[in-house]
């Protein structure tokens, strides 16, 4: 669980079963365990109205545990980008009263929330739970490029190559933290790189 630092920084909770008939779960990697834990509190038949969309990590773990919940629909996606067209359609056609549950890395939660916000779902009506890596999705304020899975502080922009301070300032619209050049005033100053978001 990431520590709360500043007000724009997202705060995540713990998934809990919500009333309703339609439930959409979007999770990656260890986010699967948040769903499995929640399932222990779910009423009988809960997953009969649920769709689970899962992006396994590199190790491919947790697929069987989610299948065992017997959701009405289960979809495996290799990456968030590959999931995007399907997710846009699902959210665009969603019934009033669809419950949304997002679990896993901050990058997954943020990007799924971004698509849901564009579909008109209020961010406060989504359940979120952070599990697994603290890696951040970062927008370079200079070139506007997004760098995925940033684990270090500072971090190099994968687009323009500037060395960036990864701030806690977060934009839901961009689903990204802000990266600002850390040695803009004197490029010869190179601070040590630390593994800040493992």
């Amino acid at each position: 669980m990431a520590a709360k630092t500043i007000i724009s920084r997202p705060i995540y909770g713990t998934l809990s079963p919500q009333p309703g008939k339609h439930h959409l779960f979007i999770a990656d990697a260890e986010g699967a365990l948040a769903i499995v834990d929640m399932a222990k509190m779910a009423p009988p038949g809960f997953f009969g109205g649920a769709e689970i969309v899962f992006i396994p990590g590199l190790d491919g773990k947790h697929v069987a545990a989610l299948e065992a919940l017997k959701p009405a629909q289960f979809h495996l996606a290799p990456s968030f980008a590959s999931l995007l067209p399907r997710l846009k359609q699902t959210l665009g056609n969603a019934h009033m009263g669809l419950r949304l549950y997002l679990a896993g890395t901050e990058g997954l939660i943020g990007q799924a929330m971004q698509v849901a916000l564009e579909a008109g779902i209020d961010h406060t009506s989504m359940q979120t739970e952070h599990r697994g890596s603290l890696a951040r999705r970062m927008q370079c304020v200079h070139c506007k490029g997004i760098t995925e899975n940033v684990t270090t502080q500072p971090a190099t922009c994968s687009h323009c190559g500037l060395l960036l301070l990864v701030r806690d300032h977060y934009s839901r619209r961009l689903a990204a933290f802000q990266g600002v050049c850390i040695n803009a005033e004197d490029r010869s100053e190179i601070p040590p790189t630390e593994e800040a978001f493992p």
């Binding site: 200079h142 300032h169 802000q178 803009a184 005033e185």
Partner: protein, 346 residues
Amino acid sequence: MGITFRKETFRDDFTFRNSPEHIRRFPFPFHEDAYMYAVNIEPHVVGPKGSVLENLIDVDEHYVAEMQDRALVLAEDPLRCQSLPHMTLAGWDLLELLMEQQALGYPEHFTLTRDGDRWRWINRPLGIDDTFTFGDTSTLPYGPMEYITRQSQGDFCILDQRDGNLWMDAGMVTTQADWSLDFDIGMNFFEWHAPVPLAHEKGIFTRALKFLTNIQQGKPARRLNWTMTINPRLDTSPENYHKWGPDRTTVTPENVGDKVHLRVELQSFWRLPRSNGIVFPIRCYLIKMDELVTQPKWARRLHRVIRDLPEELATYKGLTRYRPTLVEWLSKLDDGSPTSPGFGPD
């Protein structure tokens, strides 16, 4: 008698200067010999003749040059002007406000004629004479917010009011003190202020939001904010920080007076009539140390303020690197004698 607009630059050769009359009218932001955050909001009413408050929307000798600099910024980076889709009506509200105020304060430079929805706008300093239909975006060369803010000094944020909060949903931001509209657009009041140190803990933003959401039409409010900028550069955006940041390493005891500028923002807050939004003009005034210290009271007071500024604030305002050089330079102009109360020069 009209304003004589200066030909000057805010980049490259930095020819920006204030005339002696503009030095005297500079909105010096310190009413005492120390500075700390406060909810320093007051009614935005007309002030003394010859001050920056003589008109509620101030146009000064830098108008033409500032508009030219804005056009350069937008050509490089169009993302400095953005408006979310639901904000067009508020853009028309802003167009009306700025045309009315500029025509009212400076009739020799600006004329607005209305015949129902057919409006004619003449802007003599920029050589503009346009007739358009109010409310019909297809009759203007830009959206209404962009059109009028390409002709108005200062940055402009338009805030949507809903759920008891204010949302930064549109803006023209080319002269900002190191914050990004492109990153912050769509955020609420607390979120876009998140990086400001100390003020959240003091409850500043909770009280400020309460005040702002209650602003009524025809009763605008204002506050001053300040920072410092090396060279008279308007575009101190985070987008270009890697380009202007090195300026901060160039301050020496010999060039403090010419390079270091006090940057004051006159922020005002206006309720918009049709959209119920709030527009938040952020008008930036720059003055170099050599100009500022022609007023001995300001020199003494600025020395004490900068010397005693809490470290977190100095860091947030980006002063750390050159503060010792600046304080040393200012100290020679501070004989320790008391300063009179209030903002103005003696």
